[in-house]
Symmetry: C2
Subunit: 235 residues, 2 copies
């Protein structure tokens, strides 16, 4: 399998990020957002080693802001410095670590969804439906990257509504850590076997304002996705 990896970098590719508003953000922040998006959507495979200068020239900036962005990502365990080399790398997941990730995600993400119920609007529900349609379209096209992106958009559109910064950050960190491996697993399985997610039920629960159901469906959704990864890891 080949990864698009860092070819996405056209000179001055800085403007990506998940939500497009950057305006006067510092270079450091733009670099961070760019890298974080790549990682969350799994466009850099686990074990892949990256380098400051390569990233920097790929993004058209000096190594300095990249160093700070990378430091941040290391703090979130989205990147790691191998102790032998001191060289930069996307971490691989052990079974133990994956289980912890699953537990943490299953704790924080249902809570976020629960809190989002009160703030949910008709407009956001429409956007969620659009996300879900993009997701289904990607599935039928066999477009794993499209699936990753739409799934990410769907979930964090909900989480942002929860008005719970700390929990939101925790969720981001957890996604940063699971993204690369998730992409590998889903890519290996192919879109046909991808989990029958619970997005439809989630949307319906949001529409009826049933907070308990929202929590439950989000829990199921996270559980199913992570369970798939766990099985893949054991083989």
């Amino acid at each position: 399998m080949t990864f698009p990896a860092l070819n996405v970098f056209t000179p001055n590719a800085l403007s990506g990020g998940f939500d497009g508003r950057d305006e006067d953000a510092s270079v450091h922040d733009q670099v961070y957002e760019a890298l974080a998006t790549l990682l969350i959507q799994g466009q850099i495979p686990p074990g892949k080693s990256v380098s400051l200068r390569t990233l920097a020239s790929g993004l058209g900036v000096s190594p300095m802001p990249v160093r700070e962005a990378v430091r941040r990502l290391i703090a979130q365990k989205a990147l790691e410095l191998q102790p032998s080399n001191k060289r930069l790398r996307v971490p691989s997941l052990s079974e133990d670590r994956l289980k912890q990730l699953m537990m943490a995600r299953q704790w924080v993400e249902p809570e976020l969804a629960f809190r989002a119920v009160a703030a949910m609007t008709r407009d956001t529900i429409a956007e969620l439906k659009a996300d879900d349609q993009r997701l289904m379209a990607a599935l039928t096209k066999g477009d794993v990257d499209g699936y990753m992106q739409a799934n990410h958009a769907f979930h964090f559109r909900i989480y942002r509504l929860a008005q719970a910064d700390l929990f939101l950050d925790m969720a981001k960190t957890l996604w940063l850590q699971s993204g690369p491996f998730m992409r590998v697993v889903f890519g290996r399985l192919g879109t046909v076997q991808l989990p029958q997610d619970h997005h439809q039920e989630l949307i319906r629960a949001f529409e009826s304002g049933d907070a308990a159901a929202v929590r439950q469906h989000m829990s199921d959704d996270v559980h199913e996705g992570m369970e798939l990864m766990l099985e893949a890891l054991k083989r």
Copy 2:
């Protein structure tokens, strides 16, 4: 009230950290450990603004490794850049954020304690008892800083045993965020009114290998401490 703050910096004060092993660690890591310890033990008050160059000269290094350490701490929300100024500061806690901190700590720390039961040894229990004695001694002496330090040592001696890196990192991040405010509250209350913690019960539960009791007592301990902070914040 006065804070010892950064006067603790003697030229080349780098060697602190919580556990003393630094040997060949990079300057960046040493700076990070030094700052993290200061923050966790609340030796820098919330709202206090710090500066890269001040920290750097206080630690006897160039601003460069400090920048990276600070970036890391910002990622953990142990420091923040105020958006107006772009100036560096120890964050203050809103009631909302404090509640999230409490929920997160009450989820992750009992889990860590639970997992530590299997790995607990007679030696570690002895060390825990020593920590608790230092804690009690600090209480009777009215030594708030000593209390903070002993409490930190006690808890993370347990958490390190759990062999759960991800959860351990989450706990560290949460302590980094609560440390400064906790120090203020406990300092204001005075050591006399400090929570009657559950360390004794915890130790007994560890001795008898009762994992369920360990989880429960840790939950109570965290709850009581955070509840105290919550009440203080409301006033």
